[in-house]
């Protein structure tokens, strides 16, 4: 069993006989009774996507999955092509399949990525918990502010926008926590 609070982008779980993959976490709200999370989920078999909201205590059947380590070979428009490093076999996933994780990975990356297979078919990816990305745009850095407590928006080399501390500059290499997309640290 897996409970709602354990679900992340790329998690796969069952509703009846259908396997659903979490494509995006659309938002969370916290109340006295816990957290309600809004997900975009995709039915792996039918391909149908839907937005749902789940309270933190709901339990789901987990799914038997095969997981392989691969590298992102290249991106062709909306298609992400991954290569198995021993057999050189290639597998394609769409940007939608990757959901939020598409913003964390690039063909320039050197590290392997976990590709999740269900019934012989790739259905999602799990990047490492910490990934390195480069800031391509942000407002100028504030010298002397190294507290890391005040944030500003920054665009990364993958095109996504994240919040970074004021001391960051264009070109700064940062580490991101892929579980929630938050800034972890500046790469030294």
């Amino acid at each position: 069993m897996v409970v709602t609070s354990q679900l992340r982008t790329g998690s796969v779980f069952k509703v009846g006989n259908d396997a659903l993959v979490v494509q995006k976490i659309l938002g969370q709200k916290t109340g006295r009774a816990g957290t309600v999370t809004r997900f975009r989920v995709k039915n792996i078999v039918t391909g149908q996507t839907s937005d749902v909201a789940c309270d933190s205590g709901e339990k789901f059947e987990s799914v038997d999955l095969d997981i392989f380590q691969m590298k992102l070979s290249y991106i062709d428009g909306e298609t992400y092509v991954f290569m198995e490093q021993e057999t050189f076999e290639q597998y394609e996933l769409t940007k939608d399949d990757l959901g939020d994780n598409a913003g964390y990975i690039s063909a320039d990356d050197d590290y392997p990525i976990e590709i999740t297979f269900y019934d012989g078919k790739p259905v999602g990816v799990t990047p490492p918990i910490l990934v390195e990305r480069t800031i391509t745009y942000c407002e100028p850095g504030v010298k002397g502010d190294t507290s890391g407590k005040t944030f500003k928006p920054a665009t990364l080399d993958t095109g996504i926008e994240v919040a970074v501390p004021l001391f960051c500059e264009i070109g700064t290499r940062i580490k991101l926590d892929t579980r929630d997309g938050t800034f972890a640290e500046r790469v030294k």
Binding site: V15, D18, L20, T30, V36, D51, E58
Partner: protein, 403 residues
């Protein structure tokens, strides 16, 4: 339509208060649904409704079947739910489901559909509109689930408008009606109230009534401001039974008992509703009393449940945002009343935890000094809610649409 309402009592009487009010509201609808209630704390329920037998394993109450969540009484509940399977289940505040009900709902040998509705907490935050009526999931495709959110704005499920509260509100809209409500409340307190220190110096029926039902804190500042206010207007404080009563009385004693203070016994829900409708200014907490105070149209201070990282302030600001349009521009007296109220709300709720030593920088006196403007703003806000949807009726409509 058959509806089963689940309630776990987490914070004294707020959770059961909402569940009980919802049950009453649903039963007042035309062609009302048949209700079964599963509650984990009959004693709290009995405090709100004296007809509840806190020791019974199960019982019939107002035409509803009432069962215990766990313990020995749960066997009877399971038997009843196996005999008549649950079709529509309302989970109050994501309270989850007892194991025996989980087994029934997700029995792999049964192919009957059922529907669970997660009735969430009241909030003024915009997400109440986003989440309201959103589909949810369970592990079975036969057990569908959906979200239902109360709220203060269109696009939410609204607030519960039960007949008893609506009658009290209607009565309180005239001075004569308000006096009648006050006489009834005073009669409930009995002759002992006459012996309360300072009571002889004011007219209890027409005094400025301030019921206090909040969490533990140091009430020194609140009492000092009420004392200053009481010098020009006869004031009666009513300490509701529960967490704030002792702290409030301590501060009042230390201040030299500057106005009459009455300790209210624990009141049944309908009697407490009447106090809120008849008062002048209330200090309320949680959800059920918050929603009643908002509907009553009398000025009030809301104390939100403390959350990690002072997240309660987000909820308080969201509520203030809902109130703001009902007050005038910044330069006006009405705008000044709102500014004082905003400062009071934020200072009173700025805390990490509740305790007898919890202090804040709240100032009640500037708010009370602009009472007419405050009354007008809250009255307008209440009127805006009067046109809101009745949560019970809206819930049944929703169930008919998706069932």
């Amino acid at each position: 339509m058959d509806i089963d309402i689940l309630c776990k009592v987490v914070d004294n009487f707020g959770d059961i208060g909402v569940a009980y009010r919802l049950a009453r509201s649903l039963s007042e609808l035309g062609n009302p649904p048949r209700l079964r209630l599963v509650v984990d704390d009959f004693a709290s329920f009995a405090a709100l409704d004296p007809e509840v037998d806190a020791s019974a394993p199960s019982q019939t109450l107002h035409g509803w079947e009432l069962y215990r969540w766990g313990g020995a009484g749960a066997a009877r509940a399971k038997e009843a739910f196996l005999a008549k399977r649950p079709r529509i289940v309302i989970e109050c505040f994501a309270c989850g489901r007892p194991d025996w009900l989980e087994d029934i709902l997700f029995d792999p040998l049964v192919e009957e559909p059922s529907l669970i509705v997660d009735l969430e907490h009241l909030t003024a935050e915009p997400y109440s509109v986003e989440l309201h009526r959103m589909p949810s999931l369970t592990r079975s495709s036969l057990v569908r689930k959906a979200m239902f959110l109360p709220g203060f704005s269109a696009g939410t499920g609204g607030l519960i408008l039960d007949g008893s509260f609506e009658r009290a509100r209607e009565l309180s809209s005239s001075e004569a009606g308000r006096l009648a409500l006050r006489r009834r409340a005073l009669a409930r307190l009995g002759p002992a109230i006459g012996g309360t220190a300072g009571a002889e110096a004011i007219d209890l029926e027409t005094a400025f009534w301030v019921p206090v039902f909040s969490y533990e804190r140091d009430y020194t500042r609140v009492v000092a401001d009420l004392a200053a206010f009481a010098r020009s207007r006869g004031t009666l404080a009513l300490a509701a039974a529960g967490r704030s009563a002792g702290c409030f009385r301590r501060a009042w004693s230390e201040a030299g008992e500057p106005f009459p203070l009455v300790d209210l016994p624990f009141l049944p829900q309908e009697a407490w509703d009447e106090v809120l409708a008849a008062c002048d200014f209330s200090i309320v907490r949680g959800e059920d009393s918050w929603s009643r105070a908002a509907l009553a149209g009398r000025p009030f201070l809301w104390q939100a449940y403390p959350q990690e990282g002072k997240h309660q302030l987000v909820k308080v600001r969201a509520f203030l945002d809902r109130l703001r349009p009902h007050f005038g521009s910044e330069g006006s007296a009405s705008g000044a009343a709102f500014a004082a109220l905003r400062d009071l709300y934020l200072a009173f709720n700025d805390r990490d935890r509740d305790g007898a030593d919890t202090r804040g920088g709240e100032s009640l006196l500037p708010v009370l000094g602009l009472y007419p403007e405050l009354l007008s703003g809250f009255g307008e806000f209440s009127a805006s809610l009067g046109g809101a949807r009745d949560l019970g009726a809206d819930l049944v409509t929703f169930l008919r649409e998706i069932w």
